[in-house]
């Protein structure tokens, strides 16, 4: 059952990711991206990390992608004629390089499948729960957690700085 679910989700994830890149229409791309996020959430569920799964849907699929969609719809982008118009030398090289890197990564991960400790039953059920994550977040990872707050604030202030009207520059 779990294997079936895994294969199903992986196919969905890869398929939607590919469709997102290939799709000519930007709105379609964004919607495929949403589907991709949902299938990634499926992986988390499979790993017993329900909290992460739900947060993945809530934050990425539910909030961030909506804003993406918003912008795309407002800009009303036209369809690109063709993603790959004609293959030139540069594209060929970059494609080969990407393939090589991918092969290397696959080789590395392939070699080390099963190196990480296998958690089953009780311990894994305890890893993904809200309590476990909350505990870790407010004890071990307190500093990164607080700095993340600063990071997000900085991002908001930065966005404001870049998006405001120029006429706001005043005094002195």
């Amino acid at each position: 059952m779990e294997t079936f679910f895994f294969v199903f989700i992986s196919t969905l994830a890869i398929g939607t990711a590919l469709a997102m890149v290939i799709s000519k229409n930007t709105v379609n791309s964004a919607l495929f991206m949403v589907l991709h996020m949902l299938s990634v959430a499926g992986f988390y569920t499979l790993l017993n990390a329900q909290f992460l799964a739900v947060i993945q849907i809530l934050v990425y699929a539910g909030a961030i992608m909506v804003l993406f969609l918003f912008v795309i719809m407002l800009l009303n982008l036209d369809e690109d004629e063709k993603v790959v118009s004609k293959i030139d030398f540069k594209q060929l090289i970059s494609f080969t390089l990407a393939l090589v890197v991918l092969a290397q990564l696959l080789y590395i991960t392939g070699n080390y499948a099963g190196v990480l400790p296998e958690l089953t039953g009780e311990p894994i059920a305890a890893v993904g729960t809200v309590e476990a994550i909350g505990d870790e977040l407010f004890t071990t990872f307190l500093l990164p957690f607080e700095v993340t707050a600063i990071l997000l604030t900085a991002a908001v202030v930065g966005a404001m700085l870049l998006a405001q009207k120029t006429s706001n520059v005043i005094d002195e």
Partner: protein, 336 residues
Amino acid sequence: MEAPIVSSYIIMAGALAVLLQSAAVVVYVERRVAAFIQNRVGPNRVGPFGLLQPLADVVKLIFKEDVTPIYGNRVIHTMAPMFPVITALLTVAVIPFGDGLFITNLNVGVLFLLAVTSLGVYGVAMAGWASNSKYSLLGGLRAAAQMLSYELPMGMAIASTVLFATSLSMVDIVNSQVYWWGLFVNPLGAIIFTVAAFAEANRAPFDLVEAEQELVGGFHTEYSSMKFGMFFLAEYMHVVIGSMLITTFFLGGYHLPFAGYYAHILPEAGTWAKAILDIAVFLGKTGFMVFVFIWVRWTIPRFKFNQLMSLGWSKLLPLAILNFVVIAFILMLINS
């Protein structure tokens, strides 16, 4: 994670059937109540007291021509109406209807609820875009902005409830209200949640999404036949779901008021009598909240869009955060 006492499939079948039918009932009730409030008669021709009116409406919808705008996006146009219906139906999965009567008891139930609600935006946004009409697009964008904005106060209000239950499981939240309902211990949270629920359901006074004077029909301007029917269905299902959530979070779910103090005179848990009592109490509260939804719609005029946004961001959200902090502080003092 305790298992439900009856097979969860049976509960699921029952819940879905009731939810789907409830839309029809609510439509009828809404029209009768509206008529009563406006001193009219309302539908009374089809069947006794006009009870078969919803049926006639559906038959009419089914036989209408299904039009898709020619330059719109056909696939997305067809998919869009399914989203709100699906999200509404998914929500039922975590709502407990009675003692041991729930479909599943997720330990992240509340977050699941928020996640599913947040997906509802896509239906409206997609419908607005795929229709290739400026009224639809504006309606869709408005809806998306509105739903995103009110998710935050809603989430904070729920968070303040979670503080009492110290659990994200819906069953635990209901059980924490066995003595005192959430409404009594956390009135501000209840009000904020109710307002946000109105906005999330796109109901008056927050129904700018389909403000006729400005946007014709909003995001469903270009919809007809059963596709429109689905949006219509989803709207009323969201009213029912919203009522159920208010009931669960703030009106003690299936518990009678202060039930903990006289639990010994109630039927034992696990018996049929208790199950029927629980469901009756739950449905009663839900029915009342549905009535409130309708009541508000015909009493309070529509907001302007800027008022809506400033209410959400600069009033409800700070208030909800303040409420959360104050409650957390008080609970910390009490517990230590």
